[in-house]
């Protein structure tokens, strides 16, 4: 993932911050917001909000098959967003980008459509112990229905995938290998290209949960070799209610539809229908039109900064975060060292529960999340019920890290 020659472009964080209206907010009078919860959802620049607002104030219409001016403009806006997103992830064709609600729906779509058509009793799916529930529960449900076998690549105490164990699991000839590109708890950036190549070598199909990678790293589906890639708009400066399933054209072509209804059909009689071409086959009913336009604007915003610059900025940020956190007595940060990690720091304190940490930090305007972050099995593995998680994006500053550290000292003072 790391470019060998890190680009020189530096990201102008103050200019970026000025684009995010929420950052002007005071959580309480005199207490400005320090938003360290972008792994849960990112904030939105005014460019995204304005694109959606403009859509609703000038163009709003239902898409597809409308001849009137608004319908044609709305369709063009929706499809232009698809094309922009396809370019952003290096898809070979725009119709490989399917609009869904979020990463979760994207993964369920693959489980219901590809899974039920291609998997049979006894087939093996390989996952990892660091999956988000959204890339775990759909496969548990499918495994229960079809009697499949789930196997997990173990996570090492450092928070890395045990790749030797993975290569042994491949002897089981899994039909599917699915894994998170970047852990939302440990921050681990997994060697996706290597994992995928090994999976393909034994004939497995691959699904990458890109919920955390697509917002924070350059992700190119051709370089990765991924068959499927799932991600959410709301984590990458876009609105809620929109996400993407990328799938390789041939795979998507061969898959049966998932949701039935308007727009995914070519022809309907009372007792039968024929399906529409891609991508519409998988977009039943009125889609999240304004949200697609918003995600298109988000991708444009990120592309203008450059994902290499985003990655580099966040890499320097997490190095600083880890350095500062490690100086606090008792703080335990989960996951690998900065070099293998995105800008996520999940930690515990001996004196205080994660909830108490988050609550006290909130009094200083600092928003961090506390809990299992939808990764209970990973927390179970590390023997802890909950962590506090501070996560960073392009609008966060070193000063905010310093405030976080001060806040943690305050927690220690109260609970110590």
């Amino acid at each position: 993932m790391k470019p060998t020659h890190p680009p020189k472009i530096v990201l102008d964080v103050q200019k970026i911050r000025a684009d995010f209206p929420v950052l002007e907010r005071e959580v309480r009078p005199g207490v400005p917001l320090i938003y360290l919860d972008s792994t849960a959802t990112s904030q939105k620049p005014r460019q995204v909000l304005e694109a959606m607002d403009r859509f609703y104030r000038r163009t709003n219409a239902n898409i597809h098959r409308g001849i009137h001016t608004l319908a044609e403009e709305a369709t063009a806006g929706y499809e232009a967003a698809r094309e922009r997103i396809a370019r952003f992830i290096g898809a070979a064709a725009a119709h490989e980008v399917i609009f869904v609600r979020n990463t979760t729906e994207a993964i369920n779509l693959v489980a219901y459509s590809w899974g039920r058509a291609n998997l049979n009793a006894g087939d093996v799916i390989v996952l990892t112990e660091m999956e988000h529930h959204s890339n775990l529960v759909p496969w548990q449900m499918l495994a229960a229905e079809l009697d499949l076998r789930l196997e997990f690549i173990p996570v090492t105490p450092e928070g890395l995938l045990d790749l030797d164990a993975y290569h042994r699991l491949l002897d089981l000839h899994p039909k599917l290998v699915t894994f998170t590109h970047m852990s939302n708890v440990l921050g681990t950036i997994n060697p996706a290209q290597e994992i995928i190549a090994a999976a393909h070598a034994v004939g497995a199909v691959t699904l990458v949960d890109g919920a955390q990678s697509v917002p924070h790293l350059p992700v190119d589906v051709q370089t990765l070799g991924a068959d499927f890639l799932a991600f959410s708009g709301h984590k990458m400066l876009g609105p809620s209610g929109i996400g993407v399933l990328y799938g390789r054209g041939e795979l998507l072509e061969a898959m049966p539809p998932f949701l039935g209804g308007g727009d995914m059909i070519k022809r309907v009689e009372l007792r039968s229908f024929s399906v529409n071409a891609l991508p519409y086959k998988f977009e039943a009913g009125t889609p999240a039109i304004a949200e697609a336009v918003g995600l298109g604007a988000a991708v444009e915003y990120l592309a203008a900064i450059g994902m290499e610059a985003v990655e580099q900025y966040e890499h320097e940020m997490i190095a600083y975060v880890l350095e500062r956190l490690e100086e606090i007595p008792g703080v335990r940060v989960f996951g690998p060292e900065a070099q293998h990690k995105g800008a996520v720091a999940a930690f515990t304190l001996p004196e205080a529960h994660a909830h108490d940490i988050s609550q006290v930090l909130d009094d200083f305007g600092i928003a961090v999340r506390a809990g299992h972050h939808c990764a209970m099995p990973l927390h179970t593995k590390f023997g802890i019920p909950a962590t506090a998680r501070a996560s960073f994006y392009i609008y966060n500053t070193r000063q905010e890290v310093d405030r976080l550290v001060e806040g943690i000292y305050k927690v220690k003072e109260i609970f110590g």
Binding site: H355, G371, F415
Partner: protein
């Protein structure tokens, strides 16, 4: 902060008065809050009239869940089983004396949920016990 982390809560969290287990007991129940892993066990002893003579809690979790448990256990001493069954969310909030968001509310009410499930002799502690 001064609001939420009233001295009382921090004090009860750091220096609990009713921590422990009672064996044997007349009522015992335990459960946890899956969202944060907080765990509470409550043990109660009753006299022949169904009045609480002794009670204790054990478990682990955040300051709100533990302090709420400690305060609740103190409060039920001398109450009848029927009075215990009739306890509400408001009783716990009055004991804590603070306002809570939806997530911390679940922390605060865990001990009451466990206590009432035990008092009613239920197999499971459900949210409607503290609705």
């Amino acid at each position: 902060m001064d609001d939420l982390y009233r001295e009382l809560i921090i004090d009860r969290y750091k220096n609990p008065q009713f921590r422990g287990e009672l064996n044997p007991n007349d009522i015992t129940f335990e459960d946890d809050n899956p969202y944060c892993g907080d765990h509470i066990r409550v043990d109660v002893r009753l006299d022949e009239n169904g009045v609480v003579t002794e009670a204790a809690y054990s478990g682990e979790g955040c300051s709100i869940s533990q302090a709420a448990a400690d305060l609740l256990i103190e409060y039920i001493h001398g109450k009848t089983l029927d009075e215990v069954k009739a306890l509400t969310k408001e009783d716990v909030l009055d004991l804590l004396g603070i306002e809570l968001g939806p997530v911390r509310l679940k922390c605060a009410l865990l001990s009451l949920k466990v206590l009432k499930a035990g008092a009613y002799g239920l197999g499971e502690a459900t949210d409607d016990l503290v609705a």
